[in-house]
């Protein structure tokens, strides 16, 4: 499986768009991880320096309290990436088992679980997230859970579809014949063979999660201030469009590039896996790639 991942990585880097996306994400992730080592202060206020345009001293300019916008963008990356990562993990931890059980057993379990998933899909993501925050109150963990819940249906549907194609194949029948219990078959036999589409889903969801987290912050119901967050900066920056246009434009640019990077990588991976599927049709079945 490790060889498969390495060759997948190589083929991903061969695509120009995906390689650019990976490079940008690496830059953002490194800056977020080592923000403490950089000469940046996201909280230091100086009212005399409020709303300064970009300069050699502060590359992105300053906000209404004289705080350095670049520093807040870098620390905001932490908020965004941590929330997005947590949300994807939450969605996978709930969605994958739900899909596995629904697809493996079928029958009433399938109907019941999928009706619950339908309820999650019955509202636009952003509304569902807002309703959850209305109940949980405004905090970073509430934002994480709200975004995570919105991602559950995607994982559940893909896991379910995978189980339904894989469960009748010979290698699953063999494990069943050796006396494998349902739990073992679902999580140890089927799941490892269904990983590729789930990983792609995780990357696609990461771009949606970052967008959703920023949208919630923009609406004023996301991660509460003074924690820097990209959406919150756009929200405040919007009030100073006449005085300091770069205040809203530059954080928005970083946010957009991050979303586009995830999206490009996700689509490149989908294309690679689709080609594998076409190549492999009829030749090998469900083998570990």
């Amino acid at each position: 499986m490790r060889d498969g991942l390495i060759s997948l990585g190589r083929r991903l880097l061969a695509r120009r768009g995906a390689a650019l996306g990976l490079a940008f994400l690496a830059l953002v992730a490194l800056a977020a991880a080592f923000a403490g080592l950089l000469p940046l202060d996201p909280l230091g206020q100086s009212v005399a320096d409020a709303l300064k345009p970009p300069s050699s001293e502060s590359w992105f300019g300053t906000d209404e309290l004289g705080r350095d916008i670049l520093a807040r963008v870098v620390y905001g990356a932490r908020t965004s990436l941590v929330t997005a990562f947590g949300a994807v993990l939450t969605a996978a931890l709930v969605g994958v088992p739900v899909g596995l059980v629904a697809g493996f057993y079928g029958g009433w379990r399938d109907s019941l679980l999928m009706r619950c998933i339908d309820v999650l899909l019955a509202l636009p993501n952003i509304l569902f997230a807002m309703a959850l925050i209305a109940v949980l109150g405004r905090s970073q963990s509430a934002a994480l859970i709200a975004v995570g819940v919105a991602g559950i249906p995607g994982f559940a549907r893909i896991a379910r579809a995978q189980v339904m194609t894989l469960r009748s194949l010979d290698f699953v029948t063999a494990v069943r014949g050796f006396g494998g219990k349902p739990g073992y078959i679902m999580f140890r036999t089927i799941l490892p063979n269904a990983l590729s589409p789930l990983v792609v889903q995780a990357i696609v969801l990461a771009s949606i999660a970052i967008l959703l987290e920023a949208a919630l912050a923009f609406l004023g119901v996301g991660v509460p201030p003074p924690t820097p967050s990209w959406g919150e900066m756009l929200r405040t920056g919007k009030s100073y469009l006449y005085e300091a246009p770069s205040y809203a434009v530059l954080p928005g640019l970083v946010l957009t590039l991050t979303i586009l990077s995830f999206d490009t990588i996700g689509r490149a991976l989908t294309a690679i896996l689709d080609r594998d599927e076409t190549d492999a049709s009829g030749a090998t079945i469900g083998g570990r790639r």
């Binding site: 009706r115 619950c116 339908d118 309820v119 019955a122 509202l123 636009p124 993501n125 952003i126 509304l127 807002m130 309703a131 925050i133 209305a134 109940v135 949980l136 109150g137 771009s207 967008l211 920023a214 949208a215 923009f218 609406l219 004023g220 119901v221 959406g231 756009l234 920056g237 919007k238 469009l241 006449y242 246009p245 809203a248 434009v249 928005g252 640019l253 946010l255 957009t256 979303i259 586009l260 999206d263 490009t264 689509r267």
Partner: protein
Amino acid sequence: MTAYVLRRLLQMLPVLLLASFAIFAMIYAVPGGPVAVIVGENAGPEEIAAAIRRYGLDRPMAVQYLDWLGRALAGDFGSSLHSRQPVLQLIGERLPATLQLALAAIVVALAIGIPVAIASAVRPNSWIDRLLSGWSALALGVPTFWLGILLILLFAVELHWLPSASRHVPFWQAPLDALRSLALPALTLGVYVSGILARFLRASLIGEARADYVRTARAKGVPERRIVGLHIMRNAMLPFVTIVGLMMANFIGGAVVTEAVFTYPGLGRLLIQAISTRDYPLIQGCILVILIAYMLINLLVDALYAWIDPRIEYR
């Protein structure tokens, strides 16, 4: 047809029941429960006792739910905790604004999405196809709130052509004013949706172009323009109707971010205000109305699809 619509309405019931229970139970999950929601967290014991008596909060939860559901079915969603106005009236005031924005955005999305899809599907994998696919990716990846801000900077701050904040002006009363007010929010939403529409229509055009009837038409010497415009388009447009309908349904509440950028008085903004003031009856009413509208539009789209494509049977 009638039987089909009736059966679909019946299928909606379980989802609607589950969702309505979740919406009702929402206030029980709030710290302090429904009492704190009604009287506030700092209320004295007498106020709490009065509220429990008045709203019947000492009854079993299932009884309270059935009571709430019965009144909701009769159109009574209670009153806003803040303005004391009936929830349904508040929603009714915002709904026309939301629908007008949704229609305008769909017009923009179709005006961009259809030409983009045709231009890229005519020569798949050519440079123009790649360029236009890039456009779709961009339209989908750029957050609407950032695009909205960029449009305000260009058209309101720099050029002074359009207002930066939008009001709701009914189109039939003052068409020009309405268009001025709608232009930027409709463009913002429309660009995003044009990305979805273009991607989808391109795929279905390319799929149709491989069909046998296209080969037959070519063999008969039908001009290429007529093949694309008449034969392929007609068949590719069918599934397209579904996507356009889904987008419409999404706008009923999902345009909340765009509404916030332009301070547009739609249903989504009513919901944000309700959430920030913890006005739970209003939150419940908004979500329930949006949910029902969403499901009904979906049903309407499916029925329409079956009606315009005679090959589909109502089963």
